[in-house]
């Protein structure tokens, strides 16, 4: 019997090695796998390359990972936020490499990795600083930039519900990068609000099929008050 549910956050990220590329889901706070990030900080891997839309804010989560000096490079589209002081300081001090990628190219490169494409010609960024030094091509009268896939060793994502086969559904705009990152990583770890019995997720509405998910960690707890009381993971 296949059961991808892991009951320990520590075990779920135990094999992240120094130098690994780790995708982290979320757009702002929505979909951010905070508990998995905390576990990654505790685990101690260094020299990480992080792929996330942002570069952390406040002092928790991704910002805390940066602050602990675990990250060598960050690949993101929007590092600057009103409270991105941790990133800002490290970046200005030259202690953190930044690869700035337009958000659509970031998505396309993650999708290219997941779907086995070698590279894609994307319209975004042509003629700008962010395409400097990149190969370009005119196709049917339009200019494109050649962009290469971003593969990851791990994807840490947050979903709403899962079953033991790793099928996932998300909640509202917390879906964002989760499904595409899940397909692009060698090992995808999803923290979820709840694990439900096999068959409880509607097969027409499963967003991330279990083939893209290696580990599921039920977190339970925080749920919007509009959706009833917090539920406990079925498998806890």
């Amino acid at each position: 019997m296949i059961d991808k549910v892991v009951h320990s956050l520590a075990m779920a990220v135990d094999d992240v090695r120094d130098g690994a590329t780790v995708m982290i889901g979320g757009f702002g706070g929505a979909g951010m796998p905070s508990e998995l990030i905390d576990a990654l900080i505790a685990q101690g891997a260094r020299d990480l390359t992080i792929v996330n839309n942002n570069a952390g804010n406040g002092e928790a989560g991704l910002a805390a990972l940066l602050k602990a000096r675990r990250v060598k490079k960050i690949i993101c589209s929007f590092p600057r936020q009103t409270d991105s002081q941790v990133f800002d300081g490290l970046y200005r001090a030259g202690e953190l490499e930044l690869e700035l990628v337009p958000q659509g190219n970031l998505a396309a490169r993650i999708q290219a990795a997941g779907s086995g494409l070698g590279a894609v010609y994307t319209p975004t960024g042509f003629g700008t600083l962010l395409a400097e030094g990149k190969e370009t091509r005119r196709i049917d009268g339009r200019d494109y930039v050649l962009e290469f896939p971003i593969h990851a060793d791990f994807a840490l994502i947050k979903a709403h519900r899962a079953d033991r086969w790793g099928n996932l559904v998300y909640r509202k705009t917390a879906r964002n990068f989760g499904p595409i990152m899940a397909a692009a990583a060698r090992c995808t770890v999803a923290q979820v609000d709840e694990v439900v019995p096999l068959g409880e997720l509607d097969p027409e509405a499963i967003v991330t099929p279990g083939i893209f998910v290696q580990r599921v960690v039920p977190i339970g707890g925080q749920r919007s008050p509009r959706n009833g009381a917090a539920t406990q993971g079925h498998a806890r």
Partner: protein
């Protein structure tokens, strides 16, 4: 002359959005446009973080941290709206499926080049988000901005000095002074605020304008 306030500018842009249009309102000033969309038109607002059919801000206390817009503010979903992932969201943006996007700008050039993401300052933290995708992907790119910088320089220029967001992508510029189409014939003024003459507008604008109010 009577410069348009930010609210009046937003209302003016909103008036050009038609029933059934799929629209993305960029972060910053353009988000104001949502407040002025005509109530009798069904207009589909897209947010790049994965929703279509975005509704207004929730009542205080009803915020849901999982339901936010691209500016990371709490929003709501209209009946008939839906959620999707970033791949599908940028398919909408880059595949020519949005009728209109409205973006703020530092500069717009006479050929429709847009600069809106980076001051280019040595100490600036660069951040681009989805701006470049919207610039190349929407059927029409509307820019809304103040006509001049705080120090009085024209934001409409012969050639952008700030780093570009996209080349030749802007279709129309809405400022506190005028509405200007950008196209093969250069920049054509369609509207000016009350009390402003074309000569005065041209004097405040660092690129040649044509006057063709319909």
């Amino acid at each position: 002359m009577k410069r348009r306030t930010r609210e009046q500018l937003a209302a003016r842009v909103a008036a050009d959005i038609n029933e059934g249009n799929y629209v993305n309102l960029g972060i910053g000033l353009p988000t104001l446009v949502a407040n002025y969309l005509p109530k009798d038109r069904e207009i589909f607002l897209h947010s790049e973080n994965g929703l279509l059919g975005m509704g207004p801000a929730p009542a205080p206390g009803d915020e849901d941290p999982d339901l936010i817009n691209a500016s990371k503010q709490p929003v709501t979903l209209l009946t008939g709206g839906c959620y999707f992932h970033h791949g599908d969201s940028f398919t909408m943006m880059r595949g020519g499926h949005l009728d209109i996007c409205v973006l703020g700008a530092f500069q717009v050039s006479v050929t429709g080049d847009l600069a809106n993401w980076h001051t280019g300052g040595a100490d600036a933290i660069p951040a681009v988000g989805g701006a470049m995708d919207l610039a190349v992907g929407a059927k029409r790119v509307f820019v809304m901005m103040e006509h001049q910088t705080k120090t009085g320089e024209s934001k409409i220029v012969e050639r952008c000095t700030y780093p570009l967001t996209g080349i030749g992508c802007v279709a129309r510029v809405y400022t506190d002074l005028a509405v200007i189409d950008v196209g093969r014939d250069g920049m054509v003024v369609r509207e000016m605020v009350e009390g402003l003459t074309f000569e005065e507008l041209q004097r405040l604008t660092a690129a040649p304008l044509t006057h063709c109010v319909n």
